[in-house]
């Protein structure tokens, strides 16, 4: 998730986005056939376009089209165990692809603080919000730490790669985990001190600088999502078609 504000395009309430993901999961689950899956991806692409992510959605749709064609071909041609393997793999792939595409859009358009604000608004308990916030904040730190650690490893002639791992497993493991976990442990101390001295233990519910609210566009998008799911269910139930 980025820390910068996105000025162009649509803005949606993070709660609405979460709802969309949920609807997307359900729609993927109940999709009567590949065609409906494809329509779902198209719908998501339209949403992405509203967010101004043209490149991303075009790539996503093209890639999916290729996979769909491949799936049809595999279903028609292959047999035996290999086919079973592919069915398992592609089954997962199709179930996940739409959600993954949507998640890509959601993650790149939601600021961490908006997300946390949303969690506050749905009255998620502090015991969940604090670790969640810390986790999101710590992932980039891991990346920074990793850079230092690989530098340090190279200077000690330990290769930070798969080959290095296979030739000197014990040493490589220590080189990776020890500094990373030491740093994590120190960060845990410092960060708790820095948050306790700024009053995080206040029992009153926190307020939030970023104010989120559900607007017309949120309701509109959610309505479309629900409608599509109901439509799918009707098709499956034999009400339509």
């Amino acid at each position: 998730m980025s820390g910068n504000r996105h000025k162009k395009g649509l803005w949606l309430d993070p709660r609405a986005k979460l709802f969309l993901i949920l609807m997307c999961v359900l729609s993927s689950m109940f999709a009567p056939s590949l065609a409906y899956q494809f329509v779902l991806v198209m719908l998501i692409a339209v949403l992405g376009a509203f967010f101004g992510k043209w490149k991303y959605v075009i790539k996503a749709v093209c890639f999916y089209a290729v996979i769909c064609a491949l799936t049809v071909w595999i279903m028609a041609e292959m047999t035996g165990t290999l086919r079973t393997m592919f069915i398992a793999f592609l089954g997962l792939f199709h179930k996940v692809y739409a959600c993954g595409t949507l998640a890509g859009i959601v993650l790149t358009t939601t600021k961490v603080n908006e997300f946390l604000s949303a969690m506050n608004r749905v009255h998620a308990p502090k015991k969940l919000v604090i670790p969640m916030a810390v986790m999101l904040r710590y992932i980039p730190t891991i990346q920074e730490d990793w850079r230092y650690i690989t530098d340090a490893m190279r200077m000690r002639d330990v290769s930070p790669s798969l080959a290095g791992f296979l030739t000197h497993p014990g040493m490589t493991v220590e080189c990776i985990y020890v500094p990373l976990l030491m740093a994590a442990s120190k960060a845990a101390d410092d960060l708790s001190v820095a948050s306790v001295t700024r009053g995080i233990e206040n029992p009153n519910p926190r307020t939030c600088l970023v104010q989120i609210k559900c607007g017309i566009s949120d309701w509109g998008v959610m309505a479309v999502a629900v409608a599509y799911l109901i439509f799918e269910l009707c098709v499956r139930g034999g009400v339509i078609g």
């Binding site: 793999f89 949507l102 220590e174 985990y177 976990l181």
Partner: protein, 203 residues
């Protein structure tokens, strides 16, 4: 240096919560790194839980050693679940981690979070959370393939699914996941003893 005076209290302190958050981040990254190679490979996809379990053992065990209180692992599971969910993973995958983390929490709790054996077992159980989506597949292979095959499920597919080879895959998936996560837990225990306890960073 940083033991808390109120660490004797029952509830999780801010420090415990922050620690949980930081270690969840590490755990998430390591599970992802371990699993991504398998998850994107059609032939090896069933070994994704095994890959995911291979790397995170030391992190998981150090988290227990630092917090050793109930709910820390469960919170971690909930966060993992939410993150898997919003990153578009299969729902059963997210749910699997959530449920298994809670189970793992109770297993480790049975030893007051101090028994290395139970903590290791708890990690193995936690790692099995990654099998969630595959269990859904094996439970209902028809439903899984339906989207692709349309409503008319073919007999040949059902036959293949019922063939012993597939039970084999199921067993292999579990066995691999258990073995890798046990190895990881073993390495974690070693490191805990050799490094982290000596360095004084466990609580």
């Amino acid at each position: 240096m940083s033991n808390q005076v109120n660490s004797m209290n029952k509830g999780l302190t801010v420090k415990d919560l922050v620690t949980t958050g930081i270690f969840t981040a590490l755990l998430f990254v390591f599970v992802l790194v371990g699993g991504v190679f398998f998850a994107t490979n059609p032939v090896l996809t069933f070994f994704m839980p095994a890959g995911g379990g291979l790397l995170a053992g030391p992190i998981y065990l150090l988290l227990i050693a630092k917090v050793h209180k109930r709910w820390s692992l469960s919170i971690m599971g909930v966060i993992m679940g939410i993150i898997w969910f919003v990153t578009g993973m299969h729902w059963a995958f997210a749910l699997g981690y959530l449920i298994m983390a809670i189970v793992a929490d109770f297993v480790a709790g049975a030893g007051q979070y101090k028994s290395k054996k139970l903590n290791s077992l708890s990690y193995v159980l936690f790692s099995l959370g990654g099998t969630g989506s595959y269990i859904v597949f094996f439970a209902d292979p028809n439903g899984w393939a339906q989207t692709m095959l349309g409503n008319g499920t073919e007999q040949s597919y059902i036959d293949t699914m019922q063939a012993t080879a597939n039970t084999g895959i199921l067993i292999a998936m579990f066995a691999a996941a258990i073995i890798t996560s046990a190895i990881s837990a073993f390495v974690g225990c070693k490191m805990l003893k050799k490094q982290f306890e000596k360095a004084g960073i466990t609580a």
